[in-house]
Assembly symmetry: C2
Homo-oligomer: 84 residues x 2
DNA sequence: TCGATTGTTCGAGTATAATCGAACAATTGA
DNA sequence: TCAATTGTTCGATTATACTCGAACAATCGA
């Protein structure tokens, strides 16, 4: 639980989560042109390791999806509260 | 929002919040005898400045209360999800 | 008044996290 | 095959956070 909260307690990652919620299968480089890709890769990794998102390789790109079901199962209501 | 999540993203503070939810007007030194009081004071401060708890002076002690209404108003469902 | 109780503040040390350039790997398309 | 695209990893730097002893302030009870 603290790990998930920590993953969400960052402005950039919170925005990532909200965009991922609105855009299924979101590529890593979408919507964050001003932030260096190594920085973004770090944030994607934190979210991935916390179990918040899932990545699937699709060609050279990676498509990111929010793990809604798993999160709702582990922490009911949390994601909904964050996304509201 | 990130500030509140950060305040909650610590094991000790999460436990504080849960105890505060169960024990209204909780003194600072209750339940955490093994942790130095300066460390506890730090955690109380983080929660206070994030708007999660409120302190009222009661003699030499301070009684801490969860700010349920304010939190529910600002972030509906969040506290309930955290406390579940 | 004075010792005991309850917390805060300060400062230093340590640990963790964020940032980002550079090099690398994998894939696509021409 | 080869250049372009998409991300990851590495290493270094900087920033932020956690921990905790020591000194201090406020209050209560005897």
């Amino acid at each position: 639980m603290p790990e998930v909260l920590h993953a969400l307690a960052d402005p950039v990652r919170l925005e990532i989560v909200r965009l991922a919620a609105a855009h299924p299968r979101l590529p890593c480089n979408r919507f964050f042109d001003e932030i260096p890709k190594s920085t973004m890769s770090h944030h994607w990794r934190v979210l991935r390791e916390a179990g918040v998102i899932r990545q699937e390789g699709h060609g050279a790109a990676r498509l990111n999806s929010l793990r809604r079901e798993e999160l709702d199962h582990r922490f009911p209501g949390l994601l909904e509260a964050i996304l509201r």
